[in-house]
Amino acid sequence: MSNHALLLDRGNLKRRNRVNRAVEVVSTVAALLAVAVLLIVVGSVVSKGIGALSIHFLTTPAGLFGDTSGGISNAIAGTAIIVGLAALMAIPVGLLVAIFTSEFASDRVAHPVRFVLDLLNGVPTIVTGIFVYGLIVVPQKHQSGYAGAVALAIVMLPIVARTAQEVLALVPGTLKEAAYALGIARWRTLLRVTLPTAAGGLLTGALLAVARVAGETAPLILVCSIFGQGVLTEPSEALSSIPVFIFQSSESPSPEAHTQAWAAALILIAFVLVLNVVARAFYSRSRKRMGA
């Protein structure tokens, strides 16, 4: 650090203040720009989507390709099933991984596991799609909701596990030690002390992971995008989903399809943002509870 510069610049206070002022303005503008982009994107989605939003749109399945008189009830059902199944797989496994690294594993084991989770977090989701395509779609010879759910679960796993690790680390050691001092076994302490204390934060991680994969499109394009007509609920068949609907409608040249894409985007963005807000509320409450 060249603190001498300070002394050398001493005589030029006006210029230094001007530079300082300029940087402050640039920083403020940058922050405003980020907020503005958010508002513009959300504003576009709301203003262009709200017109096409109707009970009919929400309760009618999509029509045949090119027919834009239908709605997204099949996509809503499909997303609910695929994301629900993915959460059922990823949340327990992710939580267990976090329990392993924070409660049982020595540093020498925990570090590589955390490293693997980071790597998994960095795997492009489209590559996850190729993996699940080879793992499930090729042997079964057809796409399926299960394949989509497995792909989304793989995307969720590192998010759930990493947030859970962080939240478990926040649980005061004194609580656990108090339980051990009473002769309570480790697993009982975990179930009755550690997990309940961390519950709010764990829920936050799970909700954020759900919010993240609810809009995930890339792997679904590869493993769950060729589906039949009507509202399908059997995950062994390929199911429609909101992100895939948006993607396919956005690629269409017809303005009606674009309007439908905006309306579906409005539903998705509302769901994702509400989940984020709820998750944040849980987290700040839970941090207070843990005295962090």
């Binding site: 922050a31 980020a34 991984v97 795997v123 492009p124 480790r186 993607f247």
Partner: protein, 329 residues
């Protein structure tokens, strides 16, 4: 009552028996889950290589430098897509890094307390927008804006540069790069901001006490202290940009050649897989796309490793730079 139950010797014996099973059971289950996570990453490498194998044996390492993607002659190469990935992610990185630093300076040093949290939350929210929606917005709002306003302006100002030559276009490298910038800026910002917050107050106060202006303090204390963190955060953002398939596929136009003009349509590795994998009729086409996926995977892993190394060699050994979503709260 627990205590009452424990005073009963029969119940206590049963509890001890359960405890003898409970601990190893939980340890085993959680260990199994950790092993599963390791197996998934190994499985990804194996399965993608397996799917790509026909293309790997047919094209060999020359695949990487082949500038062709022709389903009719079944000649495939990765060069146009590696080029597209490097160009779009590179531009996104060049724009997102200074933006993120500026936003972080605002959030940690300038913003009044009342504004700080809401603005930080809004910036984080930008990261929560699903990429397919950003892509839709890119097609219908940003693309026309680039075509009508940004690209003509760039062309008239810097048209002598080959990268700004040719006709403005709604779809292309530059539009994709803008979408990627919007995607990664909030991610890089959330980590950069966190690193800035770890700068010890005494150092900042020391700098102010020496008469530094706010910017001089930031330049001489905050930035040097956070250098490793900033670089690590930026490279993590780069990793995200490299891997983004959907939003890029929506706005880059899908041309399968190398074009110097940033206005021109192109494609990236991830976008090409997203656009073609489903149809891919050619015998070597799917394997070639999987081969692209393998190269993409290698890119992401290397980028992640570099980010890790930089942060570990820097001053901030303990700072966790992987942005798990909770950290931003």
């Amino acid at each position: 009552m627990e205590a009452g139950a424990l005073s009963n010797p029969v119940l206590r014996a049963r509890r001890n028996r359960i405890d003898r099973i409970g601990d190893p059971l939980l340890r085993g289950l959680s260990g199994l889950a950790a092993a599963l996570a390791v197996a998934v990453i190994a499985g990804i490498v194996y399965e993608v290589t397996h799917l790509a194998w026909p293309a790997i044996t047919h094209f060999g390492i020359g695949f990487i430098t082949t500038n062709d993607w022709n389903p009719v002659t079944e000649r495939y190469g990765a060069a146009p897509f590696i080029y597209g990935t490097v160009v779009t992610s590179g531009i996104a990185l060049l724009l997102a890094a200074p933006l993120s630093v500026a936003i972080s300076i605002y959030l940690t040093e300038l913003a009044p307390n009342r504004v700080r949290r809401p603005v930080a939350t809004l910036v984080d929210m930008l990261a929560a927008i699903p990429s397919v929606i950003l892509g839709l917005w890119g097609i219908l709002v940003l693309g026309p804006f680039m075509h009508d306003t940004v690209e003509p302006a760039l062309k008239s100002a810097f048209g002598f540069l080959p990268i700004f030559s040719g006709d403005p276009s709604a779809f292309g490298y530059l539009t994709a790069a803008m979408i990627l910038t919007i995607m990664i800026t909030p991610i890089v910002t959330s980590v950069t901001r966190e690193v800035f917050e770890t700068v010890p107050g005494e150092l900042k106060e020391g700098s102010y006490a020496l008469g530094a202006t706010r910017w001089e303090m930031v330049r001489q204390v905050v930035l040097p202290y956070s250098r490793a963190g900033i670089v690590g955060a930026t490279i993590l953002g780069l990793g995200r940009a490299i891997g983004e398939a959907i939003a890029v596929a929506q706005v880059i136009g899908g041309a399968t050649g190398i074009n110097i003009s940033l206005f021109h349509t192109g494609s990236t590795m991830a976008a090409q897989i997203a656009a073609q994998f489903q149809g891919a009729p050619g015998a070597l086409q799917k394997p070639s796309l999987a081969y692209l996926g393998l190269i993409l995977l290698a890119f992401s892993v290397i980028v992640n490793l570099i980010a890790r190394l930089i942060v570990q060699r820097g001053t901030l050994k303990d700072t966790d730079i992987t942005p798990t979503e909770v950290e931003a709260l």
